[in-house]
Symmetry: C2
Subunit: 297 residues, 2 copies
Amino acid sequence: MDGRIVSARIREKVGQKVAGLTAANWPPRLVSIAVGAAEPAALYIRNQKRVADKLGIAFEDRHYPEGTTREEMLAAVQALNADPRVTGILIQRPVPGHIPMKELQAAVHPLKDVEGMHPASIGNIVYNDLILGPCTAVAAVEMLRATDLALEGLEVVVVGHSEIVGKPIAFLLMSEGATVTVCHHMTRDLSVHLRRADAVFVAVGKPGLIDGSMLKPGAAVIDIGINQIDDGAGGTRVVGDADYASCREVAGWLTPVPGGVGPVTVSILMRNVAKAAELQKRHYEKQYGTPTFVPDV
Amino acid sequence: MDGRIVSARIREKVGQKVAGLTAANWPPRLVSIAVGAAEPAALYIRNQKRVADKLGIAFEDRHYPEGTTREEMLAAVQALNADPRVTGILIQRPVPGHIPMKELQAAVHPLKDVEGMHPASIGNIVYNDLILGPCTAVAAVEMLRATDLALEGLEVVVVGHSEIVGKPIAFLLMSEGATVTVCHHMTRDLSVHLRRADAVFVAVGKPGLIDGSMLKPGAAVIDIGINQIDDGAGGTRVVGDADYASCREVAGWLTPVPGGVGPVTVSILMRNVAKAAELQKRHYEKQYGTPTFVPDV
């Protein structure tokens, strides 16, 4: 399965939405916040900026020095919350240890939470109101939708129970009528669960955790792991959590790493930005009416 | 398993907390809101008031006429949000059709959401921050804790995927290390899942949905169903979703209906009220400091 094909379909629609919003004087603007060392997130930021540019979304790349305090970061987020020109706020990982990531994330206004990580955003998924969903989880589900499996009644096993990937995938699929089991490192016998699964999602961060012998023939495998391993020639290469060669022999569908869920995740982020702009526009118009004159800001 | 025993343990601690809060000039006060016909919720309200009285929690029973508009109800909730003497807001079901229950529930301030139903409350559970959890789900998990089963690695099947019972039970148990499968009416073969489960939660509303032949011997069965059925003598009686007689032969633990999860649910509601009072006290003191003089309100 090629993530770029699924991605292209999503980006086309997002581009149209962004054009409409821009024409209506609501140009979407995404602000990326990185704190401390620039290196770890640099590749991600560059890629996000490239996609945003292509779709007509303004992308502002902010860097704060290592020594920025918790209070200063929270104030920076509050200022962005209050700024009507800012559509979405994206907090790059990792942040320095003295800044509590969860608190920073929860400080983002739910209508600007384009990463879909605010507790209220997560709670809304549970309530089947998918407003702004967590990007990686939504992207993984989009990959499953791109197979021809019917989600209703599908036996799904999610391996990994993180708050921002495993659990949201589980609720998203429950809402679609799938029967979902969430497994993790404390699960007694993972292979018993895998063998009965029509679809497997894996997001653990362990290369080779799943191999073909564990799968039900024809199953869909959506691999969300991203691991850097030794390539045996002095360099490194990136692989997922599924052993690609053996899984390919057994699985009906298999997402590669890289080139699978990854590119779709960036597209979902941009879809959230466009959705957030629409929500903010609606919210504004409900409160103040449709402006007939828009000042030049 | 007797819910009254589990309940008594919880109520003892809540009573102590309430006494401490009252001594500190933060007496907890719960406001119940019922809209329209009084009959359906009357029994529940009477019972809630009785338990609140016993624990020293002030209980205000408000009734609004059938014709109250959506806007008036939202304003009533906002007024209670703003009133520092009100600790918790409890919305009795059902409300008339013209009032959107979900919107009303979401209007309750998260710190006063003693039913644990606000999207932010639900999202916090997913993030393993159990602040104010949904009462029935938390009560059901308390029943499982009262068995001697270790939750880590336990194979759990939850039957029913409602937002306020089935799904929250699933995340609560995932956080404890259980391997959880959520089944529902679209699940292909429920009995295959039940037969491998160490613990079964059922919250569907179908009497006799589960019988002993479907269970793994020794399993714990937590029955959350409440169904009124014909008692064969011209009256009605209340039963759960599990067939009690046959399940008792096979299960290691079985909660009765009535007298199982029900009484524990009311205790969890009161525990949430005490917890909400503590949170509000802390929030107030953080903003304004500890008052040295408390005016007589």
